[in-house]
Amino acid sequence: MSAGEKRVSRGLDTPFEERLFQRVLLLVPLAGLALFFLYPLSIVVWRSFQQGDGTTGLGNYREILGLDHLWRVVSNSLVMSGLTAVICVGLGLVIAYALSRTRIPLRWLVTLALILPLLAPSLVQALGLIFMFGRNGLLTSLLGVQVQIYGLPGLVIANSLYALPQAVMILAVALRHADRRQYDAALVLGASPWRRFVDITLPGLRFGLLSAGFVCFTVTITDFGNAAVIGGNYRVLASEIYAQVVGQMNFNMGAVVGILLLIPTLLAFYLEKVAGLRGGSSEGAIPVEPDRWAPRDIPLWILTHLTALFVIAIVAVVIFASFVQLWPYRMSLTLKNYNITTQGGYDPLWTSLYASLITAVFGTAMLFALVLAQRKMPGWSARLVYLLAIVPVGVPGLVLGLSYVLSFNVRPVFPGILYGSALLIAFCNFYHYHSQGFLTMVTGIRNVPQPLEETVTTIGGGLWANLRDAVIPIMVPTLISVFFFLFMRGMVTLSAVIFLITPKLSVGAVSVMRLDQAGSSTQAAAFAVLIMITVLAAMGLMRLLLIWQSRRSRARAAG
């Protein structure tokens, strides 16, 4: 065969219907990404160049960058998120190390503290801090000391509590990848525990530390809930964008701040990807067993448990406050806070539930279709789809929400008809968390052994037989996890949907904020408790389903 001759691949015969089905699997999720992610985002970019007099240009940027207070807002945001990232990485390392390398007692206490922030909207931490340290706070009146909790200190503490579990998770994974043989080798060579930590543990954690730092930085610089509740006069980018859009109806200026908000997140996202590429895990490593060493363990345990207790106390005080008659004057207990009639009463909770279910069902189906299509694609196009699928993680919820207002709050019937519907909130939440769901799906589908599918094909099964007998049985736990992940995120997220609510349609997380801003902080607490209960129930249901699923496959043998 001569080099110039065009080579035709033969011998792989895929029936037309199967190729068509593969196309559909790819095109439907991509169309979703295009309409509900790329299109709104491009509108933000376009609107940021639309000047007040209807011309196109850099006017908005010039105006915004010329504002004196903007630079203060930017530096405020950087300081706040930087401090949060440092605290989270430090405490995260302590907790992750205590959990995976020491035999820490009362482990469940720490686990509980790490789960709690996932159950509630981010502003619950701020709410709890105010109940604890605010002007009428529990500790303030108990100790008689007035702490200035509003502003930077409160914001940093609240955001640290919110981001800490993510830092711990990343660092615990990094610690798990270590190889015991390295430690054994160092021990035999005579290295002290401290030397082993500095020479083996820390280098192994380099990328984990970097990654944890970036994640904490990113999730807090764009978080709206805590900034709204406890930020006080300390203005950050997230509150600035809200003030521009909701306060002054200045959509174009909001778009500019949105673009500014993209810069640090995309940068962090990019750096984290680079770090992730280099931090490859070693296959076949022997896990390091936890051991005992009092001089190390006791300070670690004290710090870990104090942090855990603090997290739990903050949430506990919110639960307590939700039962208090009239904080702080009449501390007798009552259920009347749960009788919420203002701010739409319980309707927003039902809307949240409904929208989150749509997010979960629609999202799981879309992501499953996307990974099914993506893994059968040739190298470069698979990478392109992968990149497109994980880009949403770099877009803050606030910016995504703003982009939805700009794209869907419009006159034409389509896409304008979606505005003000729970469906649009559901879509917004799904594309906000698209990346995390996609990555979980990719990990899950990698567990489907290729020979198993090839066996089905060789025996004579088509695409359907492959899905039914090889892919889905192995993907069930992943599908369950992604479904509940999307549901739980949908229940608690605030920053993306804050722009999508209308006088007629609101969601639970917004109600908490509104009730708090209206002065009924105990009712806000009650509402937050209800959201936590819903999410906790969902989480319990997921655990049960996963256990039931793994039992069922084993029980078949006995029956």
């Binding site: 792989l12 089905v456 007998d469």
Partner: protein, 336 residues
């Protein structure tokens, strides 16, 4: 039905993974594709299965052109190294899977499943799930599953490599006997020369995407055609033509007149080298390695290392001087 492959080529981009493969597999024949990892043997098996495409050449099965038939319609059976049983199906369900896809009636399926269970001696395990079986048992289920739908060709991709040595030896003869009894043409990929030599009717020795030699196990071992085969299958000492003549080897029969076979090397099996202690001889014993039934001896013969074997413990030590001679008919000329 016979499988006929002519001039098959396979490319990954500009890299050519299979180069001009010619191979035929007759009815009842057990063919082993043998070679080191990366030699293209698995790619060839997958192309035959229809799991990989090919760009050049022809692949015919009993007169049908396989290039136009997809993997699911070829009607082959395949067994992988990783067992690859359906984790959520019982042994019986796994074996009956192909028949179910072919919409056979439940009675037909259960009859055939029972037959297959008897064939692989797992009658008592019909209702177990894969994770309740040992590796060897799982692989027997995989074989039964591949055979249940009466495949036109059985493809085995390193089926024994994941098993431990004893199980592997047992399953080796079991597979061979099953194949003989059922008369199904079979292609097995392996990197284990012992496996290939003991099981195959025909060994296809491959290297770098090319077939080096096709022959019966004894041909491959005693008459390697190329330096690669001589090296990869068993061990050989490769001597230059001049050195071979010094040992009294006849020049290659097919050498052109006048030439002494200078483009060839003389491959010598260690068991064909006779070794005798001799204080005046030029051989110097470099090392003696005890292997159990034989001892392998490295002899420094005028600057060249020659391998020899003795079946008894040698009556000399390292450093002794020895003389070497060849068994009659020993050695083979190979292409360098």
């Amino acid at each position: 039905m016979t499988l006929d492959i002519r001039g098959l080529s396979k490319f990954y981009g500009t890299y050519q993974a299979l180069k001009d493969i010619d191979l035929s597999v007759g009815e009842n024949e057990f063919v082993c594709l043998l070679g080191p990892s990366g030699c293209g043997k698995t790619t060839l098996l997958r192309a035959i299965a229809g799991l990989e495409s090919f760009e050049g050449g022809q692949m015919m099965l009993g007169g049908r052109d396989l290039a136009t038939i997809g993997a699911r319609d070829r009607g082959f059976g395949i067994v992988f190294q990783s067992y690859s049983l359906f984790p959520h199906m019982t042994v019986a369900q796994n074996i009956g899977y192909g028949l179910k896809l072919r919409r056979k009636s439940p009675t037909q399926i259960s009859a055939r499943v029972a037959e297959m269970l008897a064939l692989v001696r797992l009658e008592d395990f019909a209702d177990r799930l894969p994770w309740q079986l040992s590796g060897g048992q799982q692989q027997r289920v995989a074989i039964a599953r591949a055979l249940a739908a009466e495949p036109a060709l059985l493809l085995l991709d390193e089926p024994l490599s994941a098993l431990d040595a004893r199980v592997r030896a047992g399953l080796r003869s079991e597979i061979r006997q099953m194949q003989k009894r059922l008369g199904i043409p079979t292609i097995m990929v392996t990197h284990d020369q012992e496996e290939a030599l003991t099981m195959a009717d025909k060994v296809v020795c491959m290297s770098a995407g090319r077939i080096e030699q096709i022959g019966s196990p004894s041909e491959i071992y005693t008459r390697p055609a190329t330096r690669f085969v001589a090296d990869f299958v068993g061990s050989s000492t490769l001597l230059s033509p001049a050195r071979a003549r010094a040992f009294g080897a006849a020049p290659p029969a097919d050498a052109p007149a006048g030439s002494q076979g200078d483009d060839r090397l003389f491959a010598l099996r260690p068991e064909d080298v006779l070794i005798r202690p001799d204080a005046s001889a030029p051989g110097l014993v470099r090392s003696i390695t005890f292997l159990g039934n034989v001892s392998r001896i490295e002899v420094d013969w005028q600057g060249e290392i020659i391998l020899a074997e003795t079946h008894r413990l040698p009556e000399f030590a390292e450093g002794a001087t020895v003389s070497l001679s060849l068994q009659p008919g020993a050695g083979a000329w190979v292409r360098a």
